[in-house]
């Protein structure tokens, strides 16, 4: 197993491995997305109180969940890069940041779309949405910090430090915002014990969450691949790969 992890650090090996991974992951993810979207947006029953407008949660909740998980993935990659000086972890961290930021933005926009018919305004400062907004700033900070550094190796280290600092703070931020104002519905999915939402709405939601995780992974891998190709554009293995194409 260690030799597998060791091989992941080699750009040409990782490129081939990720290529075969994405080749089936991307179609599978897209298929899951289509099935989940159709199921949630069209097939699942309407909500008792909110009617059909609740359906946006099939996009809002998965994007929010994966956006938060993505920050931890980014910080973990940064930690690996800082501690073991593995360049591939740097590349993974750089690849995850814009994807996570985009997902956070999607979560915020779909949250606003949900809010308008439900509460009457495009924006409501409830705990969850506010925490999402702060998460967006955390992501943007990492992206901006990377762009601002001239020396890109130092930039990766700086972003790793920043992501780790953010990681420590995220639970504190979430809890403090929670105590500040709780208006948003309490968490309606519990993986242990009874769920508060009906099974017919839960299953498509879980499917969409899985699909979004797949989407995140595929997007990060594709980002990493293009980053590797650009950085090693003069190397023999890249010339060979593009030549074949």
């Amino acid at each position: 197993m260690w030799s597998f992890i060791h091989k992941l650090g080699s750009p040409p090996w990782f490129f081939r491995f990720s290529g075969s991974l994405v080749r089936w992951l991307l179609p599978l993810t897209l298929a899951l997305l289509v099935v989940g979207a159709v199921w949630g947006l069209l097939v699942a029953p309407a909500d008792f109180r909110q009617g059909n407008s609740y359906r946006i949660i099939y996009i809002h909740v998965p994007s929010a969940v994966v956006a938060l998980a993505g920050y931890y993935v980014m910080a973990l990659a940064g930690a690996i890069s800082l501690i073991w000086r593995i360049k591939m972890a740097d590349i993974a961290m750089k690849a995850a940041a814009p994807v996570g930021a985009a997902l956070t933005a999607v979560a915020l926009m779909t949250g606003a779309i949900w809010g308008k018919p439900t509460w009457g305004t495009w924006w409501v400062w409830d705990a969850r949405i506010t925490s999402m907004l702060i998460l967006l700033f955390l992501y943007l900070g990492v992206v901006a910090l990377f762009e601002a550094y001239d020396n890109k190796a130092a930039a990766a280290r700086a972003c790793a430090v920043l992501s780790l600092v953010g990681t420590v703070n995220i639970p504190i931020i979430y809890k403090s915002v929670d105590w500040w104002y709780s208006l948003h519905q309490p968490a309606s999915i519990k993986f242990t014990g009874e769920s508060a939402i009906d099974v017919s709405m839960l299953y498509p939601l879980l499917l969409m969450i899985t699909a979004f995780y797949g989407l995140f992974t595929a997007a990060v891998l594709m980002n990493m691949r293009s980053d590797l190709i650009w950085h090693h554009r003069d190397a023999a293995w890249v010339r060979q790969w593009t030549g074949l194409k």
Partner: protein
């Protein structure tokens, strides 16, 4: 035991490789000058050998004794007096008391200036305050990047004398300079032009 051992050191700046395959052994009493054209990487190598740069430096560098680095910047706070600056120097290697510091300042011909804020001194005088640390530190390895800059003739003579004295008491000095070699045969040269990465 050598004071400094460097093996297969490569230095890059940004993403550009500067130097490679540098190996160096510095013994007690040796004087080394790093020479080469502008931009070849003298300062970068000096910083790497002193332990400052870590990113972009590969190879093994072992310093077996305490080092002292004086670079282009003087590391002096303009609002503080020379005595305050030296006593509270950020390198934390000044153990002397105020009298010893005052004596060191007299040695660099800044006798009456103990209580004058450094910002009021000329560039040459500030340089001399920075160099006064050589008298106050116990470090054996000196890394001096262009130490003769901004010094007048008397200042240069002072520095040469103290470098010689340091070598005699078993220390070692590495320096760079744009001015012609002044130490004659005792000095060893490391010409970096031969190690430049293309």
């Amino acid at each position: 035991m050598s004071l400094l051992v460097a093996t297969d050191v490569a230095v890059e700046r940004g993403d550009r490789p500067l130097l490679r395959d540098i190996s160096l052994r510095v013994e007690a009493g040796e004087l080394w000058q790093l020479t080469g054209p502008n931009g070849v990487g003298k300062s970068s190598l000096m910083r790497a050998l002193a332990g400052l740069a870590r990113l972009g430096v590969t190879g093994d560098i072992y310093r077996n004794t305490a080092g002292l680095y004086i670079g282009h910047s003087s590391a002096l706070k303009r609002a503080l007096t020379p005595i305050d600056n030296l006593r509270n120097h950020p390198a934390c290697d000044v153990q002397a008391d105020n009298d010893q510091i005052a004596m060191a300042l007299r040695s660099v011909k800044l006798g009456g200036y103990e209580s004058v804020p450094v910002g009021a001194l000329s560039a040459g005088q500030q340089r001399r305050v920075a160099l006064a640390r050589l008298l106050l530190s116990q470090a054996s390895l000196w890394f001096l990047d262009e130490p003769f800059t901004a010094l007048d003739i008397a200042g240069c003579e002072w520095l040469e004398r103290h470098i010689a004295g340091h070598l005699e008491s078993g220390g070692a000095v590495l320096f760079t300079s744009h001015q012609p070699s002044r130490f004659g045969a005792e000095q060893r040269n490391l010409d970096l032009a031969g190690y430049a990465s293309v």
